[in-house]
Amino acid sequence: MEEYKFIGKSAIRVDGKEKVSGAALYTDDLEFGPDLLYAEIVEGPHAHAMILSIDTSEAEKVPEVLAVVTGKDFPYNFGLYMKDRFIFAQDRVRFFGEQIAAVVARTPQAAKKAAKLVKVSYAPLPKVLSPIDAVKKNADLIHPDLENYEHVPWFFPKPKSNIAHHRKIRKGNVDQGFKDADYVLEDTYEVPRYSHCAIEYHAAVAKYDHSGRLTVWASSQSPHTQRNLFANALAPLGLKHNDVRVIAPHVGGGFGSKAGVTMEIIAAAVAMKVQGHPVKVLWNREREFYNTYQRLGVVAKLKIGVKKDGRITALHHELFWDAGAYVEYGANVVNAVGLSAIGPYKVENASIDSYCIYTNLPPGGPYRGFGYSEFLFGLESHMDRIAKHLGIDPIEIRRRNAIKEGDLTAYGAHMNPNGLLQAIDAVEKEIKWSEKLKSSNPDIAIGKGFSLFWKAPAMPPNASSSCFLKMNEDASINLLVSGMDLGQGFLTVMAQIAAEILSVPTSKIRTENPDTDRNPYEWQTVASHITWGCGNAVKKAAIDARDQIFDLIARTNFLPKDMLYLEDEKVKCKSDPSFELALRDFVINGIQMEDGTFKGGPIIGRGSFMPEYTSTNANPETSQGGHPNVHYTVGAAAAIIEIDKQTGKVKVKKIVEAVDCGKALNPSLVDGQIVGGIMQGISTVLYEDMKFDHRGKMLNPNFTDYKIPTALDVPDEIIPIIIEVAQPDGPFGARGMGEHTMIPVAPMIANAIDNALGIRIKTMPITAEKICLEILKKEKE
């Protein structure tokens, strides 16, 4: 194994001191001076209604109000993958709380007062609050213009329906596969909507100055994508891409919620109407819940056929996604799952129908796991049930079916190298799977559960990353990238990559969150692709800088270029051990020759990366033929839980999770992702419970009643395990693992509950109440 000096080391976060000292500034912390204006939103109180009229005259009279804007001011569609969204509602509202108008005023108080005076009259329309209702015959259409929306070529909307996209897999002979099966299990699983719950609200400040420059400061996972969408949506107002600048300070948690564009476009648009003034749009906790993305809900019908030995002969997975009122981003969740809903298994005969369905609920969008948590809840529950029926150990059945390198995925591409079997073995051993646990307290039941997971980045085939690397006089480095450090430690890892190539310690590499004017292009910080994608760009930039260094030394010192190497911030030469030259001696000012002239110039590395083997060109009826995903990251997890049989309360005693990240560039940060992801997974399965009333209004948009765990809810023991089967095209073999860590948790806990109580729960969340009522039901029977 190659020895690295910086890679694979648990370097301290480059933003660590800022964050523990209180110095870190987030969007709402920035100062914009006394001219800062505040926008307040007017929200619609209907899940589905036509807007008959909007009267802003009273609001405009409120002192200190500068502007009141409505949908009429911005009759533009926008969206990431499908342009079905509007800055403000146009002729109709499609979810409860949708933005109708905004008031811009000198103070938040004045804006609030005025917003209450905007009079809107509505004609309510029948609302559709479930995906199953939305696909019924004669269901009311939420987007009658669906067929006219622009969208990416890999979406297949069904005109005059509520189906915005249908991803279809047909592989092998499914009918024959079920005929060949010794046992077929068919059931339905339901996973409701969830909220990201980043502790920082969405925040955006925009200023359209008198020179025609639009600058937006936003809490963002996607500065360049935001720039692109702002420029496209506001092009009718005369904006070009280079007129738009997005500056992204620290982000107080994303988890997908700050990807793409949601409320930020309100700031950008409103700023165009109050030229010269910065305008702040700050969301609040309630809106964080009902007017940003939510994780999509799904009703998943799953049928799997197996031989007696547990080998899968056929799989049919039908997923009805509650994608909400606008699916410009969420439809790609549906697509990603459509491609991957066989799970990490070798399945010769598979059919998948993944339907993206409009409902009159808040827009569904990206959320850590991007649909994989949702379908794996059913799939991994199903695998356990099949194992139980066949009398096979739940781990063994997974081992027998586990996908291996070179096996065909659902869309017919070859599976990448992976450590799935190693992960299974490691988890089995660490959790002491074969050891029988018995409770000494008759009121407490003990159970063990297991689950596999996999996930691929869901990206356009040409999603790309780039990097500028600037060397400074003292050989310190400014590394310019446009990925976002959402807390995962991206910036630290990028610094480690550059450090490894250039032999400059991480502490001398400054890398910060981006400004789209200064930092080169990055698609988005989503999909767990950034370590891999941007890491490749950084590595290329560092190699580019190193090449420039070696070229210069070869030219000035007449040394063979291929004999040069870097060590301890010095250039050295294998064929001339007496030669060494410190980087700081020449990376800016060049090298002086005998005649007094200088050669060289500032060393500036450049790297860009795009996977050149991906393609979405495939037969839409089968999805065979393309290569939509770059690779999958896989892993396994197991849990030991205790259940209070009288109250239904679950105590998680121990969780072990192994993830194959190819190469752990920074093991401490990998562990951080595993522990944090597990906790988020525990939260979704045991605690978080989003409630809507009959009007489609969310009833618990607050932390008082939408419970995310506290320190008192942490499992007694969490054991992260790192598996490293290198990703051939990853930087130092790395592949992403940030989202993955929460994916196995829900089915694993459901399996442990079944193991403890003999009760199979097929709907999430699995709250204490649900478990308790099931126990009572079982006792009655």
């Binding site: 108080q109 609030k112 007062k113 009288q646 419970k707 506290t710 008192l712 809810d713 204490a768 009522l773």
Partner: protein, 293 residues
Amino acid sequence: MAIPYEFGYEKPLTLEEAIQLLGKHGKNARVLAGGTDLANEVKQGFRVPEVLIDIKGIDSLRKIEIIDDRLHIGALVTFNEILESKAVQDNAYILYEAAGLVASNGVRNRATMVGNICSAVACMDSAAPLLVHDATIHCLSVDGQRDVTVQKWFVDNRKTAIGEKELVTHVSIPIPKLKYAGAYQKMMRYSGEDLSQANVGVLLFSDGKCNVAFGSVGPIPKRSPKLEAFIKEKGINSQSIADAKEMISKIIAPITDVRATKEYRMHMTKVMFERAINTAVERLKKPKLITKK
């Protein structure tokens, strides 16, 4: 959040000053102690007063003391001060137990027990302990002192027997002559900070008398004389507890809301009753009543 409502602020430094202000402003004033409920209500535009009367300058309200066999807890005593008080631990352990389950440390540093029973939100934690201890709420106004028993204090959800011009100065709890032990059980959705979805307080005396109070399972928390008489008559054994749990079905009428269904609340109240009474029995057996956490 910027508060778009305006109001005045007064900070009396003596009780006399405070009740004069209350006498003047009456229902247009709100008394501010810890403010943890009040600030939220005002931000939401709910019960916005003309004037806030901040009583934190009146030091005499900050005391926990024992006077004539009664434990006095002043209006400014926070939940964390209750947790740190040996007098409370020694004489009203159940109140100590409940205080430890109120919100989280940062809230308990500020929130007061008296504020809790004045807000009188159905999910409050202080009510059941005070009910089983037959506490008295002491009110003061320009018209004089008025004492209200805790049984008559709660009128409806968020509504108490307090008069418009009255200030609660303190709550007092009689220290029983008999040996006694109590236990508090709270239904929460997880181990962390949560509002009670149901709670049960039990106070058991060496003569077999048993006080039982139920909270968060109706608009107001309440004692159940019927259940108490039953336990006193039958004693505490597995049969009487089972029968008592059956009786609870008719005593409380929980509702279904965003936090829990009525079925689960009912079931949990019975489970908690059983656990509370068993805990109280165990505690009563101990030579000293105090069980440190």
